[in-house]
């Protein structure tokens, strides 16, 4: 903390506070420079780049299949949609047709990952606001999903499961049975979270009137995902621009009303229920057939051109732009990362709030710095 102005002219009581990069509640290495007047924030400057690993540049030196590995590590809390976005763009570039079974399997994995990611949010958001118990509950269920992934592809976080042309491996009978068992276990648990956290009076008091974003503001700042839907704007890539056979599934898009921290939180809680529905439908109607397109080269060299694909990742609209010059590595890879864009609104939202609300607001945006910085 430094007193910026002091008595040498300027406002006497302005204080500059550094939040991060090491702070237990910034969800990674985000730094926010806060200028305070008493307890009220007058200026907030998010400072990113503490996790900039240059993966978009690295992609230009890797083959297409190797790039999938890099995408795993963007949004490391839910890596499957990242894999999927990249593969969709690459497949568009190569003009590949994906078998129906592979498309369904991709949906199953992405939705399970959405549950895992929202569970992590739920747990850590509880910690941010001083409730430790939901974290333990949420992680118990999350571990079960990670076990399923481990059974499937051997990894708990960085899956590299969705490959260009299809998926890495087929599911077994045992896996499907375990997944159903998990869903059966999980459904009543969502009521438990509501009792523990969602309708807890202390939690409500700290989130209900805090961090309001109205619909116009949300659109103007380019928010996406639960942050946008929390403000009541119904936009979901799965509905608006279906990919990977999402048009075949029956699910709702939960919306918030006022765009408060609680609305965003509860949107995620409701989304988990919808994800459960999608997984059940996908498992029930899993078509037979191949799990990968035939004839995908090990070192693909797509014809020169560009492609863009976007998916509804756990944090919002994740878009991948790929350009090829006919070589074995992408000529250019660009990601429209939802965390990065959602983060920008902080500079407007935090102004005029009290210091005590900062953590509640920051947590409700649910950013992953690996994706914001890449």
């Amino acid at each position: 903390m430094t007193n910026t102005a002091g008595s040498r002219g300027g406002r006497f009581d302005q204080l500059f506070v550094n939040l991060g990069p090491q702070h237990p509640s910034t969800h990674g290495v985000l730094r926010v420079g806060l200028t305070l007047e008493g307890e009220v924030i007058v200026k907030a400057e998010p400072d990113i780049g503490y996790l900039h690993r240059g993966s978009c540049k690295l992609a230009e030196t890797r083959g297409y299949h190797q790039c999938v590995v890099l995408t795993d590590r963007w949004d490391y809390v839910s890596a499957m949609p990242n894999n999927l976005a990249f593969c969709l763009a690459a497949e568009r570039l190569m003009g590949l047709e994906i078998p129906a079974r592979a498309r369904h399997l991709r949906v199953v994995m992405c939705e399970l990952n959405r549950i895992a990611s929202h569970l992590l949010f739920l747990g850590t958001y509880g910690i941010d606001l001083g409730a430790f118990t939901p974290f333990l509950h949420a992680f118990r269920e999350r571990e079960m999903i990670l076990d399923l992934y481990e059974m499937l592809c051997g990894a708990r976080l960085t899956y590299n499961y969705i490959r260009i042309g299809g998926v890495m491996s087929d599911i077994t009978q045992e896996w499907a049975a375990k997944t159903r068992e998990f869903l059966g276990f999980f459904k009543p648990r969502m009521r438990e979270y509501d009792d523990l956290l969602s309708f807890n009076p202390i939690f409500l008091a700290r989130t209900e009137e805090v961090g309001l974003i109205d619909a116009r503001q949300a659109v103007a700042w380019g928010l996406s995902g639960p942050n946008l839907r929390g403000s009541g704007v119904s936009y979901d890539v799965r509905k608006a621009d279906p990919y990977s056979s999402y048009e075949r599934f029956d699910f709702d898009v939960p919306l918030g009303k006022r765009g408060s921290c609680w609305d965003r939180y509860y949107c995620r809680a409701l989304e988990m229920r919808q994800s459960v529905r999608i997984v059940e439908q996908a498992l029930d109607g899993l078509p037979a057939g191949d799990i990968a397109a035939k004839g995908v080269s090990k070192t693909p060299k797509p014809p020169p051109g560009e492609a863009y694909a976007h998916v509804e990742a756990s944090r919002g609209d994740l878009g991948i732009y790929l350009a090829s010059d006919g070589g074995a590595a992408p000529f250019r890879l660009h990601a429209r990362a939802p965390s990065f864009i959602n983060l920008a609104i902080l500079q407007e939202m935090l102004v005029g709030r009290k210091v005590a609300d900062v953590v509640a607001i920051l947590g409700s945006i649910d950013i992953v710095l690996g994706e914001a910085d890449r």
């Binding site: 990674g28 240059g54 030196t61 590590r73 992680f139 710095l369």
Partner: protein
């Protein structure tokens, strides 16, 4: 602590039966240190999610006396969980120097060990041991929570072997300035 560590062994050796007192003290201090390893609560990247899993119900880090502290001033261990990029290098060094001695560092994951999947990236420090001394390395991308538990066990073994007469792990690091992170 530093003063005691420096003065106590010399004083104890001068007394009759002093070395017995010294080994007893060694055993006692090592035993108490070993079961209260408090890490700085700070995660960098993907590996930090596995670190969180280790704190949660299934792996239950608390039973080994590992309880995260929000401030480096109260911590003994720094778990470097994730990629250290050049912009983060300065804060990591500063955090390390803010920890009281004796302090330990666990490098978790390939990124912190050597750069991992970003071994040829322009912005990543190729191993945190270029910045600060590391006690235990864990391989994996990300390592499983079990390996983190194992690393703590290894660190406990190391602590038990520390001798007061040899400084007991207090390795004053005077320099705090920037290092060559581009090397």
């Amino acid at each position: 602590m530093g003063v005691i560590l420096e003065k106590f062994p010399k004083a104890a050796k001068a007394l009759p039966g002093g070395s017995v007192a010294l080994t007893t003290a060694d055993a006692f201090i090592g035993w108490s240190r070993k079961y209260s390893l408090w890490p700085v609560q700070f995660g960098l990247a993907c590996c930090a999610i596995e670190m969180m899993a280790a704190y949660a119900a299934r792996f239950d880090f608390d039973r080994m006396g590992v309880i995260p502290r929000a401030s480096p001033r109260q911590a003994d261990v720094m778990l470097i969980a994730g990629t250290v990029v050049k912009k983060m290098a300065e804060p990591v060094i500063r955090l390390y120097h803010q920890m009281p001695e004796p302090r330990f560092v666990v490098s978790m994951g390939s990124c912190a060990n050597c750069g991992g999947p970003y071994y040829d990236s322009y912005s990543v420090v190729k191993g945190v041991d270029r910045l600060i001394p590391v006690d235990v390395y864990i391989a994996g991308c990300p390592p499983r929570p079990e390996s983190l538990l194992y690393a703590v066990v290894k660190l406990q073994e190391k602590i038990l072997k520390m001798k007061l007469a040899k400084g007991a792990g207090a390795t004053p690091q005077q320099e705090t300035g920037a290092r060559n992170i581009n090397a």
